[in-house]
Every structure is written in C-alpha cells, then in structure tokens.
C-alpha cells in the first residue's frame, strides 16, 4: 500500500516547483505546508475581520464606554451666603479654616506620621480612632483630615517639622463664624457637617467642607444660602487619580441675606434681660419686620461646627432655663390676661357685645357648681370694655367668653395670629393652641363650659408663643394682617413686604379695634391701670399695652381661702409667667413688643417695666430719631 501510493505521489511531485527525486517526503511536506499556510492566513484573516467588527462596526458603542471610563465629574463646594442685619453688620461670615491633612500615598509609614503629628498637635482618642478609620476606608490619594482649626502656632510647628511628617499637608477650607455668638444663636442658628441622610438626599453634601444649616435662619434659608455647586470635569485613570482638568464651572455663591434685625437693639435688649429665662420680640408693627428677638439664656453656636463636648451638652440640656430652645418661637405659654384684647375683639366682631356694654363683677363668676374668681378678691363692680381692659377684670371676660363661644373666639384669635402658624423664617416653630370643643373631642374629652370660661382669661389650654403675642399686638395696633419675617433683602434687593400696603386689612371693624386700643392705652396711662410702670418717659410719645400673669399650676381653693397665698414664695418652676404686650407710639403705632419672663410672677411688676425699657430703646434707636440713613452700620449710628 505504501509503495503503490508512492509512485502516484512522485508523479505529483514533478508538478511542484521544487522537485527532488531523492527526497520523497518533500512533496507531502510542501502540500501539507501549503495547507498550514492556508490555515494561518485564514486564521489571521478572521482575526482581522473580527477586529474590524470591534473597531469600526461597534466603534461608537465602545468609544462611549471608554469616555465613561476616563472622565469623572466632581462638584465644587460653593461659598455659603453671608447673613447681615438690616444695617449691613455681618452676623454670619465665612472664615478660613486651616487644617492638617494626611495623604496616605505620600508616605510609607502612615502610623509614624500620625504619631509624630500628635506630638506636635495633640490628638484625643476620638480623633485617633476617626483618623485610623478614615485611613482604612478612603483611597490612598484622598486626604484624611487630621485636625481642623489649626492655630498659627500649630501650623508653625507642623511646617518646621515637615521633613519628619511625610504625607502631612496643610490646607485651607472655610468654616462659618458668628461674630455675635450667643447674642443671635437662636435666630441665626448654626451649621454642622451633613449627616448620612443629608448625603443621601443630595450629592452636594458629600463635598468636603460642605455645611448644612441646623437651626434658625441657617436652616430655614439653607437652600438659598447654600448656593449652586460648581463642577469640575476631570480625566481620571483606572484607580481614580486625577490626571488633568478638562472643564471647570465655578459654582455660584449662596445668596447674601440682609435680615430685618438690628443687632444693636438686640444687644441692648439682651443686656436689659440679663440672665433671666425670658424672651422678647420687637416688631415693626406696620410691616412685620422683626427688629429683635431675644431668648435667654443662649449658647455659643460655633461649638456645633467643631463638635460639642459631652460636658457642655449635659450642661445645656440639664439647665431648667432651656438655653438651647428659642423661646420666641418654640416656647409656649398661657397668655394670661394678655389674651383679653383678643377675647374682646372676638366678641365685638361677633356682635355679642358693644364697647359700652357693662357687666357686674362681684369678684367671682359662677357656672354650674363651679366658682371662678377674679384676681381682685372683692370685684370691680360694673365695668364696660374700657374699664375691663384697664383693670384686667377677669369676670368681665368670663362673661364675654361665654357669650361669644369658643369656636368664634378661636377663629378670631387665629386671625390675630395666636395659636397659628406664622410666616417667620424659622424652623421648629410651635403653633401653640387655642382650644375648641372639636379639638377637645379629638382627644376623647368632653368640652365643659368651664373650659370656655378659663380660656376667656388666657388660661386653661390656651398656649401661645412670644412671637405670636408680638404679631397679635401688631395686628391690633395697625389693623393689618402683618406676618412676622426676618429676611429683609436678598442680594441687596429689598422685598415688597417692607411696604405696609403690602399687607391686607384684618377685616375687623376699625371702631372695635380703636376701642380695644383705648383700653390698652388705659392700662398704661390712666390712673388705676394695671401697668402704670410701663409709662414711657419720652415726652409726646405714649404707649398702649396689656399685662399678663399666667399660672402654670392650679391654685387650690384651700390655698386661696387661707389668705396666705403669695405666688412669689412658690418654688421657681411653679411661679406664674410674667407677660406684657405693648405698642407705641399710641397715636401712630410703629413698634410692637412682647415680653415673656418665665416664672417672673407678675406681669405688671416685672414684665411691664422691662417692656417699657425695650420700647424706649427701640424708639430711641429709630433712625428717624437720630437722623442716620438706613444702610449705615450700627457702629456709625451709635
């Protein structure tokens, strides 16, 4: 078989270019080599075709993927908007923050660098564990913050020792500063680093150095103050390290806010209040601008940015005077007698009484089996509206409240700004409460006539905030439905709300408003009014007001009848709150003031003089009085 095939093959071999009779394997080799060459050509040809498919036919698809690989967009933190008072004094600024960073990839001995750093700038246990954690979790080229808020001394020490601190670098960021600190802590609020929930909401918060408003105007106006993030598009390599910048768009800084506050007035009021647990709101009653809102005691807001110590936190939270709570919007108090003008307005509006209607006050009011006392043990005799307000006669208002009914009373109080939400730009606003039978039913209780009676003197379930009191005073004084607000201008543009005409009329009869104002005038300026101490010392300017002393605990009959009852001898937390509301000048109302002194005992004795002083300060600071144009700084004005 072998030999038969051989002859045939040799014949074939003659046809091939290289023939060799002495080399019988040659023909087979050549044919098989040609076959291998064909296979090789086909194989590389197929690869060439496949390459064409990948590169040219599907090129666009892969080019897109490559671009996605290579570019990375990062956001740039915008500078936070500044906050100033009405005269341009800066209340919240951005201050440079020098910090030490550690870039792990620049050193072989990370622990050594941290250790040597801590010998220069002390790091506490909390810092150390945070640094160790961040070094483990962050990529090597992303810096880890060793320490923020370096002093010049710290920086000098670090710079001098930089040869022994490989990977440590000093960087500048910004932090929020509050030049007036405690004075405006509640109103301005503070900022803090965003937490995980914030980061989940917006990628902007993941940026280093980004802060989020956590209280006050910083929180309510956060979106405005935050600004628009810039972005930088960068080419990155496979491990994410930046190679070069492709495109940069600087962010827009946050809006600059000018508040309605007058920081000088705020300071004066603060000084007058001292360390009482008290609050006071001063409003321009024509347009609702809040000139000052004090809540004492206060706290240092800058501590929140750098971290509050445990001891400090305990001190704040255990203080009975609640320094962390903004009493002007989050403190709720029974309004006591300061509620009486609202009751009068409700009754007059409802038409159930006229200003001249008289009621007889025997010193108590009986409803069913219950007896409600007037503060004057022997009664005020026959009183009309004017006298009732002037003497603050409880029985008159028990009667009036019963006549007008709780529903109409509540509606009217809401209209005046009590127990309702106000437009002020502050978070954590509490609504207070004007109770209604419906509300009581919701809580599975029956509404008693007695509940209406005590509501008539602002006791029982009635609760309001100091800001609501000031707003209500303003509305009575002007007859317009002004809303309290804090933002006066955004980026220098003053809003339409400065114009009193911007605010709608209350829709209450002017005669009734005047009757109530007259009553409030009498409280301060007529003999036998309840607040003679509130009389202004400024010639030609008169003030109208209303006192209030709100019990925080029911006075038992036994105690009352013992005749030895004196609230001033009670423990502090059981004494009544002292309240006073007022507006001035009486003939052309400009300012409204509310004062609440927690457990201050008697409104007439404690709150009224304080309100008088505050009003005096406010009137004297009025630019009209000292002829300095708005826009001048407080320092200039003084």
């Amino acid at each position: 078989m072998r030999f038969r095939g051989r002859k045939k093959r040799e014949k074939l071999n003659r046809l091939l270019p290289v023939r060799d009779q002495k080399d019988p394997g040659k023909g087979v080799f050549t044919r098989r080599a040609l076959l291998i060459m064909a296979v090789q050509t086909a194989a590389l040809g197929e690869l060439g075709r496949r390459l064409y498919d990948l590169q040219v036919n599907n090129g666009d698809h892969f080019a897109k993927l490559a671009d996605k690989n290579r570019t990375s967009k990062r956001l740039l933190a915008p500078p936070r908007g500044l906050i100033s008072d009405r005269f341009g004094t800066i209340l919240a600024a951005n201050k440079t923050n020098w910090r030490a960073l550690l870039l792990s990839e620049e050193t072989t001995d990370v622990e050594g660098s941290v250790e040597r750093f801590s010998q220069l700038v002390p790091l506490d246990e909390h810092d150390r564990s945070r640094i160790a954690r961040e070094i483990r979790h962050k990529r090597k080229f992303i810096p880890v913050v060793l320490r923020e808020f370096l002093s010049w001394d710290d920086m000098a020490r670090i710079e001098i020792n930089s040869p022994s601190l490989p990977g440590v670098l000093i960087d500048v960021g910004t932090t929020r500063s509050y030049p007036f600190g405690e004075l405006l802590a509640h109103t301005i609020g503070y900022v803090a680093p965003p937490n995980e929930q914030d980061v989940a909401k917006s990628a902007l918060f993941a940026l280093p150095g980004m802060r989020i408003g956590r209280a006050g105007v910083e929180q309510s106006q956060d979106a405005m103050l935050r600004g628009q993030a810039g972005s930088v598009e960068m080419e990155v390599n496979s491990v994410g390290r930046v190679m070069k910048e492709l495109d940069r768009q600087d962010g827009t800084p946050g809006d600059e806010l000018a508040l309605t506050l007058d920081v000088g007035l705020q300071q004066t009021i603060q000084n007058r209040i001292g360390d009482l647990a008290a609050s006071s709101v001063v409003m321009d009653c024509r347009n609702g601008e809040v000139l000052a809102m004090c809540s004492t005691p206060s706290f240092d807001p800058s501590l929140f940015d750098s971290g509050v110590s445990r001891a400090q936190w305990i001190e704040w939270t255990s203080d009975q005077r609640t320094p962390l709570i903004d009493k002007t919007v989050s403190g709720v108090y029974p309004p006591g007698s300061t509620f009486k003008p609202a009751v009068a307005m409700a009754a007059l509006n409802a038409g159930v009484i006229s200003p001249s209607d008289r009621f007889f006050c025997p010193g108590h009011f009986d409803l069913g089996g219950a007896r409600f006392h007037c503060w004057a043990k022997h009664g005020h005799g026959s009183v009309d509206l004017h006298l009732a307000l002037k003497y603050s006669c409880d029985v008159y208002f028990y009667e009036v409240a019963m006549k007008v009914g709780m529903d109409r009373l509540a509606a009217s109080a809401h209209e005046l700004g009590l127990g309702t939400e106000l437009g002020i730009e502050l978070p954590h606003q509490r609504l207070g409460l004007i109770p209604t039978p419906e509300w009581r039913q919701k809580h599975k209780h029956h509404w008693n006539g007695g509940d209406t009676v005590v509501s008539g003197i602002g006791q029982g379930f009635v609760q309001v905030t100091p800001l609501q009191l000031a707003t209500y005073t303003s509305r009575i004084a002007t007859g317009r439905k002004v809303e309290p607000h804090l933002v006066r201008a955004i980026n220098g543009d003053i809003g339409a709300q400065v114009d009193p005409q911007h605010w709608p009329e209350l829709g209450m009869d002017d005669r009734y408003l005047r009757a109530v104002r007259e009553g409030m005038f009498a409280v301060v300026n007529e003999s036998h009014g309840t607040a003679p101490k509130a009389r202004l010392a400024i010639p030609g300017v008169e003030m109208a007001g209303k006192t209030g002393s709100a019990q925080v605990r029911r006075v038992s009959r036994a105690l009352r009848e013992s005749g030895h009852f004196n609230s001033a001898t009670l423990p502090w937390e059981f004494r009544p709150h002292a309240l006073f509301i007022c507006f001035a000048p009486y003939d052309s109302p400009r300012y409204a003031v509310s004062v609440v002194i927690e457990h201050g005992n008697a409104g007439a004795d404690v709150a009224a003089p304080l309100a008088r002083d505050i009003m005096t300060d406010t009137l004297l600071r009025d630019p009209v009085n000292h002829k300095s144009a708005p826009g001048q700084t407080v320092a200039d004005a003084e």
Partner: protein, 392 residues
C-alpha cells in the same frame, strides 16, 4: 609523521572553517528583506511601548530596543551556524530546557498565580518560551533522521511524541495553559508536516474530546474563571471579566483611525491591564485604530508566510521541519495573543512576539528567527537526506 598528523588535521579543520570569508559570504545569503520585516515590526513595538510608557522611552521602550539589538545579533550569529552543528546542539538544548522547566516548578517565581519564571544570572527567564524553540530543534533533528518511508510505522513516532508530551506536561503543571497549547500545536504541526499518515491522525483525534473534558477538570480555579468569564465577561465586570471588557473597550474606542498617538485613553489612563506586555496590541489598535491594527496583523502574516516559504524552499528535511516549526510557533504566538485581546479565547499569559515588552519571549523569538535564517542560508545543503540513516 605521527606528530605532524594531528597538526595537519588541525590545519585542515581550520581551513574548512574559513571563518572570515565564508561567514561574510553567508551573511549576504541572509534574507535581508525578512530581517527588514522583523525590524519594522520591532519598530512598531518600540512606538507602542513608548506610548505605553506614557510618552517616554522609559521604562519599556528603551530597554526593549536594547534587547532587540542583542536579539538581532543573536539572530545573525545563529543564521551562520550550519545544520550539522545545529543537529549536534539539539539534544543538549532540549535536555537543558526540560531541566529548566523542572527547576521552575521547584523554585519558580510566582507571578499571577502561576510559576513561570526562574532567575538565571540575575535576570528572570521564562523557560517555557525557550522550551518551544528547543523542542522545534529537537523534533526537526529527530524527524530528519527518520526516512519519509518509515513514517508510517507507529513505533517510530513514540519517542518524538514523548518529546512533545514531557514539556507539555511540565508547562501544564506550572500551570501555563496557553504555552502548553502552543507547544502541543507545534508538536502536532511537525508530526503533520513530517509526513505522518492520515489514518494515524484520524486515530489520534478521536479521543480528543474526552481528553479536553479531563483537562478541564484539572484546570486551576483561575483558569476556569477565565473560561467562564470569557463566555460571560459582563458577569464580573470588575473582577475576572475586567481584562476582556477593558481590552474590548480600548479596541472599540480606536475606531477606523484611532484616538491618536499617545492619546489612547484606555491605555494612557491605565484602564488596560498589562498594556505593555500581553495587551500591547490593544494599545496600538486604540491609538492607531483599525488601520494600525490591520497593519500589524499584515506584518505578522508576512513574517509567518515568509517563514513557511523558506521551509518549502529548503532542500533538506531537517531545514524544512525546523523552519516550519519556527513559523508555526510564531503563528501560534500571534494567534493566541490576538484572539485573547479581542476576547475570542480565554486570557492566558502569551505575549505578542516582537511587540510586547519582555526579554524571554523576545530573545527566544529572535533565536527562532536565527534558526530560520540558518535554514534559509543553508537551504541548498544536502544535509540529512533520506538514506542518511542507512548509510550512517
């Protein structure tokens, strides 16, 4: 006389060697066109490595150029060696290669989960690369001594089969699947070209599917992972499928004319794994587009076919088989590497000859080209003819 005889023999030997004149004339016989092709491809490699080094001769392009210079001298030197001398070298070189393969298993430097490297004189050597050349030489020598007429006898094929299987087994144990397949492929092609009978081939191919199944069950986890991720690369885009996906992205983003030299984003930004070694072709195709990629494939094909033509043109059996083995080796290098970067076969550590960065592969490829040139230079030599064995 007695004392003069060795002297005369020595003189005769000296005359026969005639080093200066004959070597010079032999040098003219070298196919300079082929050398030019080699240099062109190496030049493409230099340009690509310059880019892979981020637009710098360091750390890849410069050292590789120096190695190529050395390799070129090696090629030309080996080209001068007559077949008789090469035949004598076959056994020692082959045994040495097996010894190296054993050494690498014993004390190899582990790279990427496989023991492939061994230190010799302070440099890392990959013995499997060298084993391929040694095996080609060994098989060509062995087959040249079997007359074509005796090739039908299966007993004659046992020893050469062992010569293939021993290094294949050792390389598989490293484990380096890609190189083992290449060694097997070289052996098969030489058996085929040497004149193995067709019925033998058919008989041998029958059990292949079972062997493949057996082989798969003995694969390392990382090798299996390569096969699974090759089949579904998107199942693990950041892990085992990463190489294939990024390589495909790089190729695809090149388009027809490429992203421009030094502007290939995938390569320059390190998304490409091993861009200077196994994936150098991707860098070229990304920056120069399909035009550049096709050019490289064309050059490779010319070198392969050129080698095959040299094999056909040789007048002696040894030369033919040697040249064919070298060409097939070169072809398999290219095939495995290109298929790998295009995602057509699972990834394995096979460089692109002449282009990829790396000393072992380059020197061995240049050594192969030296042998090829020697075949070409001595193509008309009647060495190793049929009947040689009978007369010896």
């Amino acid at each position: 006389m007695d004392s003069r005889m060795p002297m005369r023999r020595f003189r005769k030997r000296l005359l026969r060697a005639e080093p200066n004149f004959r070597t010079l004339s032999k040098l003219w016989q070298v196919s300079w066109l082929y050398i030019l092709l080699i240099c062109t491809l190496a030049g493409v490699g230099y340009i690509a490595l310059y880019s892979a080094g981020g637009g710098s001769a360091r750390p890849f392009a410069g050292p590789q150029a120096a190695r190529f210079g050395f390799g070129l001298i090696l090629t030309l030197t080996v080209a001068m060696l007559p077949p008789k001398f090469l035949v004598r070298l076959a056994w020692p070189l082959y045994l040495f290669s097996l010894a190296l393969l054993v050494v690498v298993l014993q004390m190899g430097h582990v790279g990427k989960g496989a023991e492939r490297w061994v230190m010799i004189g302070g440099t890392q050597v990959q013995p499997s690369e060298y084993a391929k050349v040694a095996l080609v030489l060994m098989l060509a020598t062995w087959f040249s001594r079997i007359p074509y007429s005796k090739m039908g006898n299966p007993l004659r094929l046992i020893i050469p089969a062992l010569m293939v299987l021993v290094p294949v087994g050792l390389v598989l144990k490293e484990p380096n699947l890609g190189t083992a397949v290449i060694i097997g492929g070289i052996g098969a092609s030489l058996f085929f070209a040497a004149g193995m009978r067709l019925w033998q081939i058919v008989l041998l191919l029958l059990p292949v599917p079972f062997l493949l199944k057996l082989a798969y069950s003995h694969l390392h986890d990382y090798q299996r992972a390569r096969i699974t991720t090759f089949l579904h690369p998107e199942s693990d885009p950041l892990g085992a499928g990463y190489n294939i996906i990024q390589s495909k992205i790089a190729l695809g983003s090149g388009g027809m004319w490429g992203q421009g030299y030094l502007h290939g984003t995938q390569g320059q930004l390190n998304f490409l794994p091993e861009k200077q070694t196994d994936f150098i072709f991707t860098t070229i195709a990304e920056e120069w587009g399909y035009a550049g990629g096709a050019l490289v494939i064309g050059l490779l094909l010319l070198l392969i076919l050129g080698g095959m033509v040299m094999a056909i043109r040789s007048r002696n059996r040894f030369g033919r088989l040697l040249a064919l083995g070298i060409s097939v080796n070169f072809f398999l290098y290219c095939l495995v590497n290109l298929s790998m970067v295009m995602g057509a076969i699972p990834v394995g550590g096979v460089p692109l000859p002449l282009v990829s960065y790396g000393g072992s592969a380059l020197i061995n490829v240049m050594l192969g080209f030296g042998l090829l040139m020697s075949v070409w230079v001595h193509r008309n030599s009647r060495f190793g003819e049929e009947g040689d064995e009978e007369s010896a």
